[in-house]
């Protein structure tokens, strides 16, 4: 069993290397061979994952499957093993990572089929898959950090995949640099944690057992900086700026990395450190606050975007905000459950959007689409399912998870967060259905050469659409006739407040009715006129994302550039170089002076000789 666990991580890396060497070997390789490798590995990984899940259900909830590979760092007390663990939390994570990963791989074989860098793309993709699984299955924070950095690298490579365009490279750099800010926080948190533990454990389990050694104040610092890391990775305020730009990558990349898996790593990390956040509820509330602000921000900005992928990117940010609300308030299972369902419908949305984009020959502006229902009815159906799921309409997946989050906020007496959350639910259905109506209905647009879609492109959508409908029932609580099986399977250390079924129904009714209101409003506003609107001044601010990018540009980029210019012109050129040049000038001057004593005039040489003898004589005079 432990070998299977290790193989789940190792296989994608191996196949990534095989693909990379095949690609770099410059041989004329059939695309079929790439296809076979690209699809086989995720399929195997998925099968292995299901074996692990089955094994996990056969044991008690505290059962942890371990797979020890080797001791990586062995310095005195500082012992870091490369070890994988599969407890219930990581099993849930790998289940949807590998499953959705597999579907997106199949989708990508069709989506990327016209691309020259086919092998390169899948090498990166497998590399990402392996890194993500490493992140999730890591048994200690150091290995987790390695996975964390590797997914960042994979994300960077894939965002900049179309590296011929300058903007894409800028976007990739932006994603990488903003993530560095988060990683900085992560590193500070880990260092503080290890220092304050004084060697009492580096594995998650040991840290959990010795967490009481650390005083509350230090824990708050650790918790805060860990969350800074999560902010960067999960695109929360104020480090979200990279996510919309990350849409420069190919659509499967957006679906897998920037919707379903990598961006949820921050939420996962907070859940993984749940034992730590349980000690510091104030930081948890801070996290929830940041989460709900991001949710609101993302939803508002998404309402005013033209680019279909950007709409989905802001929507992702908004949904991630929900997840942080959940984990911040200690309802880890709700947060993980929302990750789980979100992965299905957001991947579906992205893949559907990708299908639309590719059939319209890379057109991304929704106002240039319209009337697509006539041409692509099957796409309309899957997109409708996904939109209903994300809007939280019963019985689609999003309903259960969003409801769980909102009700836990309500039961924690955080009514403000609950209220904003309900409002964001309204906005979500509004922007989603705005997009849906504009893209699929609208006036009688006709397309000359609409591209037909492969089966490999469509079938993964059907599977995900099916998933978006049914996975919600996994976590349905007693009020809906379920058994809360998801959170009982996770068995996380959290305080679940039970509420009466009546209150549950009322809350669900409120959120659902505002969602329906949003759909209705979208219908009234956007159903037929699908021409681009001009925005007024206030709306323009939202379109420009409240100028946050511009403020960053002014404060950080321009400021840093000015500092850099100062350092270059003054500190480096004048002070440092001046000092060094001064030393060399000094030596040169001394050397010139010394060289001028070597006048080639023999008389002077005789004089120097006499000087030497004179000195020796002086010495003799003193000692005699």
């Amino acid at each position: 069993m432990s070998i299977i666990l290790a193989l789940i991580v190792i296989l994608p890396f191996i196949s990534s290397m095989v693909l990379a060497s095949l690609y770099l070997s410059n041989l004329k390789i059939e695309k079929k061979l790439y296809n076979i490798i690209a699809v086989t590995t995720p399929v195997i990984v998925t099968i292995l994952t299901f074996i692990i899940i089955y094994n996990s259900t056969q044991h008690s909830s505290s059962y942890i499957l371990e797979s020890y590979l080797f001791n990586w760092i062995d310095v005195g007390e500082f012992q870091i093993d490369l070890r994988f663990i599969a407890d219930r939390l990581s099993v849930v994570m790998i289940s949807f990572i590998s499953f959705i990963g597999m579907l997106i791989h199949i989708y990508a074989t069709s989506y990327m089929s016209d691309d020259d860098g086919f092998g390169k793309f899948f090498a990166y993709f497998h590399f990402f898959l392996g890194s993500m699984l490493l992140l999730v299955l890591a048994s200690n924070p150091i290995i987790m950090f390695i996975g964390w950095e590797l997914v960042g690298l994979a994300s960077y490579l894939l965002i900049g995949y179309y590296h011929q365009g300058y903007d894409n490279i800028t976007s990739a750099n932006k994603a990488f640099i903003v993530n560095r800010v988060g990683d900085f926080g992560f590193i500070i948190a880990l260092a503080t944690l290890f220092i304050s533990l004084e060697g009492n454990g580096y594995e998650f389990i040991d840290i959990k057992n010795s967490i009481s050694l650390i005083d509350n104040h230090t824990l708050s610092i650790i918790g805060f900086f860990l969350f800074v890391g999560a902010m960067g990775k999960s695109a929360q305020l104020p480090l979200f700026v990279w996510l919309p730009d990350a849409m420069a990558g190919p659509t499967p990349v957006s679906a897998l990395i920037h919707a379903a898996t990598m961006v949820t790593a921050g939420v996962y990390m907070v859940a993984r450190f749940g034992f730590l956040y349980n000690e510091i509820p104030s930081i948890g509330e801070f996290i929830a606050f940041i989460g709900i602000s991001s949710a609101l921000f993302g939803a508002v900005v998404a309402l005013y975007q033209d680019d279909i992928k950007k709409i989905l990117a802001y929507s992702t940010m908004s949904q991630l905000g929900y997840m942080f609300v959940a984990v911040g308030l200690g309802a880890y299972s709700s947060g993980i459950f929302h990750i789980f369902t979100h992965a299905f419908f957001k991947a579906l949305l992205f893949m559907g959007a990708g299908a639309i984009i590719i059939s319209l020959h890379h057109e991304q502006n929704i106002f240039k689409m319209g009337n697509l229902k006539k041409y692509k009815p099957q796409l309309f159906i899957v997109m409708l399912i996904a939109s209903l799921a994300i809007s939280g309409i019963f019985p689609f997946a999003g309903f259960f998870s969003k409801d769980a989050i909102l009700s836990s906020a309500f039961l924690n007496h955080n009514y403000i967060i609950w209220g904003v959350g309900v409002f964001v639910a309204f906005l979500t259905s509004l922007y989603m259905f705005k997009m849906l109506f504009i893209v699929f209905f609208g006036d009688d647009k006709s397309y000359d050469n609409i591209k037909s879609l492969d089966k490999t492109l469509i079938y993964p959508l059907y599977i995900l659409a099916f998933g978006s409908i049914v996975v919600g029932f996994l976590g349905a609580n007693e009020a809906y006739g379920g058994s809360n099986s998801f959170s009982s399977f996770l068995a996380l250390d959290e305080h679940i407040q039970h509420s009466s079924h009546k209150l549950e129904y009322i809350l669900a009714l409120i959120s659902m009715s505002v969602s329906l209101l949003g759909i209705f409003l979208a219908y009234r506003l956007y159903f037929l006129p699908s021409q681009e609107k001009s925005y007024n001044k206030f709306e323009q601010i939202i379109v420009d994302r409240f100028y946050i990018d511009r403020v960053y540009n002014i404060i950080f980029i321009k400021g840093l550039r000015r500092v850099a210019i100062f350092f270059n012109n003054i500190v480096d050129n004048k002070i440092v170089d001046g000092f060094i040049d001064g030393i060399s000038q000094l030596y040169l001057q001394v050397a010139y002076n010394f060289a001028s004593s070597q006048s080639a005039n023999v008389r002077y040489y005789a004089l120097y000789m006499i000087g030497g003898v004179s000195l020796i004589s002086l010495y003799l005079l003193t000692i005699l």
């Binding site: 001028s596 006048s599 080639a600 008389r603």
Partner: protein
Amino acid sequence: MTPHHFLYLATILFGIGLLGLTIRKNLFVIYLSIELMLSSVNLILATFSRANNSQDGSIMALLMIAVIASEASIFLAIIVYLYKSTKTIDTETFTNLRNEESI
């Protein structure tokens, strides 16, 4: 009359020769200063020979005179040669050792 008087005198002559060697640029004077210094050594040798009642010092002085003579011949040949080539006996002009590019 003690040997010390002779020795002091020889030392003073040696010093004057050394001074002439350092301060003058005239190649002839430098040559003569060297001769003077050698002669003062000769005087010391003769003094010690007399004081020790030993002929060896005298013979050494005698050989010194031969050395002085050969040195004179070589030095004068060099002076003649240099004067013929450069029309000067100023030591400042003889700077062939210098690498002009490096200064």
